[in-house]
Amino acid sequence: MVDSSVRIRVHFYSYCKDLTGCASVSECVEPGSRIEDLLQKLFVRFPKLAPAQKSLLVAVGVDYQGADYVLQEGDEVSLFPPVQGG
């Protein structure tokens, strides 16, 4: 049987890292899954992250993406709170 799940890497920055207790994790999602599906999996895995949902920003690679982005094999997803440069 061939595993058809999509493997991705998820990175956490700023207080997302504090809430999850780690800088990055691997996740598997079903083909066709969107970022919103991944977030739901992550909120189950890291319950402390869930309350931050509304303010979370998401990037794939080095570009921002919305909740409806369809995840691809090997995507590097980053989760972080609003930015505060300067």
Binding site: H11, Y13, S14, Y15, L57, A59, G61, V62, D63, Y64, S78, F80, P81, V83, Q84, G85, G86
Partner: protein
Amino acid sequence: MRRELDITANKIDESALLQRRELAGDMGAVVCFLGVVRGVEEGRPIAAIDYEVFAAMARRQFDLIFDQVEKRWPVASVRLVHRVGRVAAGEPSLWVETIAPHREEAFAACQFIIAEMKRLAPIWKKPCPGASPPS
């Protein structure tokens, strides 16, 4: 448009940056902004701010911001330095320079860059409690 970006843990060396300024004869405005870490955050004294950056994405977002500047204004040069890591209160964390023929576009571009940076560049700060170092 000349563009330079430096995201660095080193102190911002203003005199070295000024020495490397390139000012063509048809440029009449240089706007330089220096952002300094305040010794107070939400009414409490702090000793420093720890800046965290997602460097590759920050470079990409600054590139996109500079692309917008190039489209909107006749700016000849944009240079930006952002410190990361621990920056003591009283020390600069951000230096931005825009050069244009006239002040309107130089000021507008500088304001735009900083506003967009605060919206898009993945940089975060965490205040370090304590008294500010003596000046």
